[in-house]
Amino acid sequence: MKKKPRIKVPKSVKTGEVFQVKSLFPHPMENGLRKDKKTGEIIPRKMIQRIEATLNGQLVFSADLHHAISANPYLAFHCRAESSGELSITWFEDTGKKTTLSQAVEVV
């Protein structure tokens, strides 16, 4: 079974409240330094190199990922919402593949 990327945000927050956003993206994060134990060949590089988070289309947080990131990159950061909207996270792979996931945030 293939695992899916996940985002966790509170369902509703107060105006101006700071809340935590948790994200998990299933990915092997091959950094191109590892060798296959049987064949001795180098496993080609395949990584997530950038993660961007937007709230209502406005960039809130972004991260550049270099070599030393664990497989299945987990990231928890904070965000402040003034009005209801959609929080989207985009994962950029170095192969050019993009994955976006959105979650609604309700401000009460």
Partner: protein, 163 residues
């Protein structure tokens, strides 16, 4: 932003060009490479150089930024950490970027976090790979250009770069 893919050599070892560069550096280099054949001993200096490149040669101040790590990481493949910066995170005064370095990894850069006033709180949690027992460095860049640095040592039982 397209990142350049570096050349691939033996796992967990410095790229060989550095070793050759050392040889090329003359007598001193020859002596050094004779004493420490193909070891990753230069990376602490390289990390410091990389940090210097960010701060523009200015020595970053201590304080404000803190990094939380487990004392001992049994598995270097997944080391959880929390980095936080003491900042009000308003439009006038906020944290622009936090950079994480692992001093003695084959490639010292780990993460670069870009924050905005909308972030609300300068605290990030993630997981990284560590090759061996070493220092982890966090450098925070504030909106007014000030730099803060924190260093924390961590013991790693099994290295996490698949060598």
């Amino acid at each position: 932003m397209k990142q350049q893919i570096p050349p691939v050599y033996d796992a967990c070892r410095k790229p060989r060009r550095d070793f050759l560069a050392l040889l090329g550096a003359g007598g001193v280099g020859l002596l050094a490479s004779a004493l420490f054949p193909h070891q990753s001993f230069a990376t602490v200096e390289e990390t410091l150089k990389a940090i210097d490149g960010i701060t523009g040669g200015k020595a970053p101040l201590e304080g404000k930024v803190s990094i939380e790590l487990p004392q001992i990481a049994e598995n270097g493949n997944t080391v959880p950490f929390t980095v936080s910066v003491d900042s009000p995170m308003t439009d006038q005064d906020y944290v622009k970027a936090i950079r994480i370095f692992a001093e003695e990894n084959p490639y010292p850069e780990v993460f670069t976090f870009h924050l905005t006033p909308q972030s609300g709180k300068a605290e990030v949690k993630a997981r990284m790979r560590l090759a061996k027992t070493q220092n982890v460095v966090a450098v925070a860049e504030m909106s007014d250009g000030a730099m803060f640095i924190a260093k924390e040592q961590i013991k790693v039982t099994i290295g996490g770069c698949g060598g």
